[in-house]
Structure formats: C-alpha cells, structure tokens
C-alpha cells in the first residue's frame, strides 16, 4: 500500500503512505446504491471481457444464455423458484443467529438432520398411521431435530463460551455421518447404498401438491416464513433482544437481558427453521435422503444473509441473484460445451465485485496531498 522502498539511510525516511483509508460517515441511500449498481455494471463488463478473451464467444450471447438457463422454459422457471425457496429458507434460518453475532455455519448439518428426521418418520410410520398424523409427526420431528442440532452448540457457548464456529462446523460432519449410516440401514434394495424414493406406491408422508404445481407449496411456505422472520427480527421483543446482544453483550447485561437465554433461544429457532428446510426437501420434493441434499446451501446461505445485511426482504433479492447465476452457469456449460467451471468463474467475478463494493460503501480512500513540503522531503 505504501511506497515501501527501503529507507535511504536512517535519518531521511519518508514513507508516508500514498493513501490512507478512513471510515465513511453516513452516505445518502442513493449514493450507496449507486456504488452497488456501478459494481454490478463493472462486474458484467469484466465478465464480458474475460469471456471474449478466454473463449472467443460473443459475450452478449453468453449473457443471453444465462438468462435462458434461468427463465428459458416454464420448467426452468419453476426449478429456479424452488431452488430460490430452499436457499432463502436456510438463509432465513441463519439470519437471527448472525444478527446476534453467533457464527452459525452449521446450517448444512441442521438441514440434514431435519431431513433425516422427516425420512425416519416416512419410513418407519408410513402406512402405519393416517397420512395427516404422519405429516404432523414429520413436521414436529424435523423442527425438533433441527432445533436440537442448533441448540447444542448454543448451550455450550452460553455455559462455557465454546467457539461456536468450530462447534457448528463439526456438527455438520456428525450429521452427515448419521445420514450416511441410516442410508445404509434403510437402503432399498439391500446393497444399493441408497434409499431411493420413499413410499413410491403409497406416497405416504409426501407433502401435498397444490394443483399441478409440484413446487408451489414450498414456495408459499418460504414466502410466509420470510414475512414472519422480518416481523420477528424487527417488531418483536425477541428480535430487539437479538439486536442488542449482537451489538454489545455488555449493553445487554446492563439492561438486564439474560444473554445466555437469548443465545440458546435464538439458536433453537435458527436450527428449527433449518429443520423446516430439511422437511421441505425430503417431504416436499425429493422424497428421499442422501448426504448431499443440502448441497452446500448451508454455506451459501451465510453469504445471502450477509449480502442482504440481515434483512429478510432483501434476502429474496440476494438469494435470487445467487440462484440465477448458478442456473445460468449450468446452462452455459451445456450450450457452449464449456466446462462447468466457466460458469463458476463468471459467478465468482460477479460476487467479487458485489462484495467488494461494500468496502467502498463503508470506507473511502484519501490520497496524499502532494504539498511542496513533502516534495522537498522526497528529494
């Protein structure tokens, strides 16, 4: 950053930095969004340049293909919306924890365990109890399983101040191994190493389908969750406590908030919503369970939540952006016969610019004024 040439002798050193970084004061909203808009334009231009240079394809065609991959057919649109719903659901789940500055990167495991609980109900109780009872059991057990998975690290954090990042991360592996174990226990047929579609003939425990739209129920549930989470975080006493604990534990204690209680309660909620995501995946769409049903979305959700600055409504946009790019990238690889990695490169460039723009929203660069005095000192 600084013109860090070695000092020429001990007494004539001048490596005052070329510029220094200061935190910005408040910016008007149009200025902030101007910076972010400029970042997206710059990202698209960079993508176009990289595409032309590396592949020789017409960048406009590439962009068109991304759009087609996302919205090209009715089916593609529904898949996009379904992916959006699941990613958004997991993002909603991690948001209260992050707002409380509890680094829950265990959403992956919490989703898996919720899915596992759902699958267990479907397999063990399918055809033994009425379908309505079965679905109610699935809902309760998936939520409970997710909550427990989120609650364990929170309990240890609250009581013994263990590191939640490491703890939640490790819980992911435990969940994956549990799922792997039960996949073998319940595999159909024996030796297949996978469960296959559960209750394929009876459809017992499959969440109901609204009309002809396979994914509509998931989308509606997540839409309701989004509104609920927005209200919870911004207009309830719990949400207020979460904000205070996240901003300063000392302030929270000073006003008599029981920090331990808030941490555990919030993580139970966070895990429970992850459990719902597992329920929607297993009971709603996949009707089976594998170790990869969460598909890394537990981690992508962290980015969705941060980019939206923990605002559930804005998270609809940020999760849309990520799902859109992902779907588009997949399409590029098939249409242009490029490696799937090329799509990832474009996604990477766009995210780099978007996340990087936040730096310029919060900080500014002050360049050194070249006064005569310093000019002399530089001789």
């Amino acid at each position: 950053m600084s013109n860090n040439c070695q000092p020429n002798g001990h007494t004539r050193v001048n490596n005052q930095p070329l510029f220094h970084i200061t935190k910005r004061k408040a910016l008007p909203w149009y200025y902030t969004w101007g910076i972010r808009g400029a970042a997206i334009v710059a990202a698209l231009l960079t993508c176009a340049a990289v595409t032309s240079l590396l592949t020789g394809e017409n960048p406009l065609e590439v962009f068109q293909t991304i759009g087609y991959g996302a919205f090209g057919t009715t089916r593609k649109t529904w898949i996009l919306l379904q992916n959006l719903a699941i990613l958004l659901c997991i993002s909603l789940a991690v948001t209260p924890a992050f707002k409380m500055r509890f680094w829950n990167i265990g959403a992956e495991g919490q989703v898996l365990i919720g899915g596992l609980a759902t699958a267990a109900c479907m397999i063990l109780l399918g055809d033994k109890v009425p379908n309505a009872v079965l679905i109610a059991t699935m809902v309760i057990s998936s939520i409970a399983a997710g909550a427990v998975w989120g609650g364990i690290p929170a309990f240890f954090k609250a009581k013994w101040n263990t590191n939640e990042t490491l703890f939640t991360l490790m819980m992911n592996y435990v969940a994956t191994q549990l799922v792997a174990f039960f996949v073998i226990v319940w595999e159909v047929p024996k030796g297949a190493g996978k469960i296959g579609i559960i209750n394929q003939d009876t459809m017992a425990g499959w969440l109901p389908q609204i009309g002809d739209y396979k994914y509509l129920l998931n989308i509606l549930i997540v839409a309701m969750l989004t509104v609920a989470m927005y209200v919870y975080l911004n207009y309830t006493k719990h949400g207020y406590e979460i904000t205070v604990v996240g901003e300063s534990e000392r302030t929270a204690r000073y006003v008599g908030i029981k920090v331990d209680k808030v941490i555990i309660r919030t993580m139970l909620l966070s895990g429970a919503v992850c459990g719902i995501a597992g329920l929607l995946l297993v009971g709603g769409t996949d009707h089976t369970i594998t170790t990869t049903i969460a598909g890394g979305r537990g981690f992508t959700a962290v980015m969705v939540s941060w980019l939206a600055q923990f605002n559930p409504i804005v998270m609809v946009l940020t999760s849309f952006l990520l799902v859109f790019l992902d779907r588009g990238a997949g399409e590029i690889s098939t249409v242009f016969a490029l490696n799937h990695s090329f799509g990832d490169i474009l996604t990477g460039i766009i995210l780099f610019f978007i996340i990087g723009s936040e730096f310029f929203v919060n900080y500014q660069l002050n360049f050194r004024k070249n006064t005569g005095k310093e000019g002399k000192a530089n001789v």
Binding site: S2, N15, Q16, K25, G239, G256
Partner: protein
C-alpha cells in the same frame, strides 16, 4: 544534566482526532542516561505523544529529531530502526509461543532460526540488567509481571536504546514494581533513555530524574524531580480549570439511601479492585467519588448496579419508609423488579449504556422494552420519549431515527442521561459524565444532575476534574487503590488535600 545529550527532541507536535486536540504544540526532550516521567491525568495526551514517537500515530504538525537529525517515523518498524521501543499497557505477545519465540517474532534475520542462539542472547540481556526470564517458557504460563519482562527484553533484543513504558506499574504488585524500577535504573546507568508514562506521583518521585507534565494536551512543565514536590506536581497536573460557576443548592432532606458496607471486589483474574469500602449515599445529595483512574470507581458503580460480582460486603438500599433491601448478588432486572429505581450512566457510553447502531427511539427503550404483555414491541412511547429528550436537552440530531453513533459525544451523553433520568430514579450513578464533552454540554450535565438532587435523588458522581467535584458535590469520597482514602465535605475541602488523598491513603497524614 546539561552535559547530557538529547536522544529525542519533539518540537511543536500537534495531533488531533476529529475535533479533539490530543496534543497541542508540545515540546519534549528525552536525554540519554536519564529516566523521564511523563505525568498527566487521563486524556492529557501522554500516550498519544509517545505513540507518535513509536510510529503508531503520525503527527499532524511538528518535527521529531533523533540524535539531532530530523526524522520521519511512520511505522513501528521505523521506530525500531531508530532504536525506539515502546512497552504498551496491553501486552502484544502470542500466548502459545515461548518467550524466545515471541522475542524474535517479526525480526527478519538471515538464515534459519536458531532458537538456542536467541535464548543465549536473551540470557545475556537478562544478566546485564537483572531480569529473570526463562526463554523456553510459554507466555500463557506466565504472570503479568513476567509477560511485561518479556516485552521489555523484546525491545532490548531489537537494540532499543530509547525505551518507553506506558503505565508499567498499573498491573504490578508493589514488590514487582520495585523489581522493575531496579531494572530501569540499571538501564539508565547503562546510558539508555527511559520514559515512563504515569499518573502516580510517588512513582515519579521514586524512579524519575526529570518529569514533564501535560495537561489537556498541552505542555505545562519540565522539572527536575529532586527539586520539585508532590504538591507542585499535583498543581501542575490538575491545572487551573476554567472559572466554573456551578450552582450548589443545599442538600434536600438528606437521608441514607444506599449503604455500602465492607464491599470487596476482585476482578476475574483475581486482582483486588475494591478493598473493604464503606460509605453511605444520601438522598437529595450529590456524592462525588474522586480517585486516580482505575482505583475501583468502575467496580464500585457496577457492583451497586448489579453488574459486578462481589466477594464480600453488603449494599443496602433504604426506602423512604425505612425498609431496606440487600442488592448484592442481584442482577439489574432483579433490582428493578424489587422496585428499586436505580439509574446508571456508565463510563463506556456506546459500549454499555447505548447501542451505537440503533437509533434514538430504539435506544430509549433499552430498559423499558419488556413493558406490556404483547410479544410485539411498541415503539410509540419510546419515540415520544426520544422526541422529548431531544427537545428538553437540546440534542443536536437530524431526527429520532438517526443511529446514535453518528451523534457527537455530548449529544450521545445527553441521550443517555435523558433516558436514565426519564425513569424517575431514586439513585443515579454516573461515571465520568462529562468526559470528552465541551464546556457547554458539561454545564448542561451539571445542571441536570443538580436538578435531580433537588428532586431528592441520591446522585453518585464519579469524576476526574477536581475543580468540578469541589463545586458540584456535597461530599466527596476519595478512593486510592480500591480503598477509601477519606471522605471530605465539598464546600470546605481543598483541592491539594484531595490530590494527596488520591495518591496516598489518608493523604498527608499517612507515611508510606
């Protein structure tokens, strides 16, 4: 004295942080073979001055000469290159490494790391000055004093011949302090320049050859320690404050409200912070608490407010009807639910009293948000309160939806005090209520506190400006090292008397 050569000359140094002037055209000389004490109250700019010498800050104006040569120091590395080493108040060591590893950390030496050679060199330095360091001991196994020794050896290892120690004795026991001072004397006799930043007079007398006094960022004096007295240094350190005219009405029907008896508090690492403190705060009266920073003021207020675990003693709250409650062991919520209306304006306004990222309305409801049976929060009353506080206390803000961190220090304090007073307390605890505020805001605060007193509130005012304490408070409790050094009447007490009591238990009478 005259034949000594100046190792460092700082000329007309000015440093500002935003609108705060930390150092204002300060001149300072540091000589070889001498221990210099840099004396001043908190916020007088001592540490800022030395941070510019050690490359942490860069002066806005002024020049630094090292051995007579004009020098630009723009990084700690530059400082090391010029033989300047600073030992900070908060140690900068890596816990899981050994002493020797910490000592060579960051040094760019040729070839492979030879830890035995390092250990041998460390041993040589230790023998030369009388340190005791085991080069192979891990930092996390060390006591505070051992860690400090490692820090000192670290800068010596780098060839420092100008050593700056920022309040080195704050964390040491008296015996450890004696040991440290012995080592510092050895270094001085070896021709090194030693600067110790302090606000403890007896240490200045004990160790230093010369003393430079700063007050509110300005240079006030440069004295030979042997030719001055604690009296004179106190005068210069406290300074002549602006002519204050604080209205001090007689206490209103004073009755015991808070009775503290034999209160003893230890910090989480076992350091004794309050030692058998006993006093009574009356209603309708302002009780001032004077003392050098870190003498237990914070712990005392936090213990009363239910935020600090106590070791022994009682804190009794006495109601108007004579019934009493023990507040020890209760948290703030339990205290409030017993009907004890206790308000607390903490020292750390944005880190404890308020939430910087929340707006005025949300900050107003920090204490009251639980009201009502609804799961949802009602922002109507807090918003009205915020608007009222803004209007009554003339808070300068664009509106009540502005995040509080965007407000200036004085306005932040008005918001905090406004909220605490709005709950009509019977006890009001304030810690450094006017720190960092300009004269006008300070007057507003004094006025508010006096009005609370007239309304029958027991006000406890922890302050650092003795002139203000003497004009504002009815009685002043003086703390020294966590003990009660004395209790004086605000109307009759002398500033010097309090100053002596702050530095020595019981003031002049005691002979330590």
């Amino acid at each position: 004295m005259n034949n000594k050569t100046a190792a460092v000359q700082m000329r007309n140094i000015t440093k500002t942080f935003g609108s705060v002037v930390a150092n204002d055209k300060v001149n300072l000389d540091i000589y070889k073979g001498e221990v210099l004490a840099l004396l001043g109250e908190n916020g007088s700019g001592k540490t800022t001055m030395m941070n510019m010498l050690s490359g942490i800050y860069f002066p806005d104006e002024g020049e630094i000469f090292i051995n007579g040569q004009p020098t630009v120091i723009s990084s700690p590395k530059d400082a090391f290159d010029h033989g300047i080493g600073m030992i900070h108040q908060h140690f900068k060591l890596v816990d899981v490494l050994t002493a020797a590893e910490n000592i060579v950390l960051g040094l760019k030496e040729e070839g492979r790391l030879n830890i035995e050679a390092v250990a041998a060199k460390v041993k040589k330095i230790c023998d030369a000055y009388g340190f005791e360091v085991d080069p192979y001991q891990k930092i996390y196994n060390m006591s505070v004093s051992q860690k400090q020794t490692v820090e000192i050896v670290k800068v010596l290892y780098r060839g420092a011949d100008i050593l700056i120690l920022d309040e080195p004795t704050a964390v040491l026991t008296p015996q450890e302090t004696d040991k440290l001072f012995a080592v510092l004397r050895n270094m001085r006799n070896d021709g090194k320049a030693v600067v110790i930043i302090t606000h403890k007079l007896h240490e200045v007398e004990d160790i230093s050859d010369r003393v430079v006094i700063l007050n509110h960022g300005k240079f006030v004096g440069d004295l030979i320690t042997a030719q001055t007295s604690a009296q004179e240094m106190t005068n210069m350190m406290v300074g002549r404050a602006v002519e204050l005219n604080i209205n001090r009405p007689e206490p209103v029907d004073p009755r015991p409200r808070v009775e503290v008896q034999g209160l003893t508090v230890r910090s989480s690492d076992g350091i004794l912070k309050l030692d058998d403190v006993t006093f009574t705060a009356n209603s309708g009266e302002i009780l001032g608490i004077a003392g050098i920073s870190g003498c237990g003021q914070k712990e005392l207020l936090e213990a009363i407010a239910g935020l600090q675990r106590t070791e022994s003693g009682t804190i009794r709250y006495i109601r108007d009807d004579g019934t009493a409650e023990n507040l020890v062991g209760k948290d703030p919520l339990e205290i409030a639910s017993m009907g004890v209306a206790l308000s607390f304006v903490p020292e750390d306004r944005l880190g404890m009293g308020l939430v910087g990222n929340m707006d005025l309305t949300d900050n107003m409801m920090l204490r009251s948000f639980r009201e009502g049976p609804s799961f949802l929060i009602n922002r109507k009353k807090p918003r009205l309160l915020a608007e009222k506080v803004v209007k009554d206390l003339e808070v300068n803000t664009p509106g009540v939806s502005t995040p509080i961190r965007r407000l200036s220090g004085g306005n932040v304090q008005k918001v905090l005090l406004g909220r605490e007073i709005a709950s009509s307390p019977t006890v009001l605890l304030t810690a450094y209520a006017v720190r960092g505020l300009d004269i006008n805001s300070s007057y507003t605060i004094y006025d508010l506190l006096t009005r609370q007193k007239q309304a029958g509130v027991a006000v406890i005012y922890v302050g650092e400006d003795l002139d203000v304490l003497l004009e504002l408070c009815d009685r002043i409790l003086v703390l020294c090292g966590g003990k009660v050094s004395g209790l004086v009447d605000g109307k009759t007490a002398e500033k010097h008397q309090i100053g002596m009591m702050m530095t020595k238990l019981g003031g002049e009478a005691a002979n330590e």
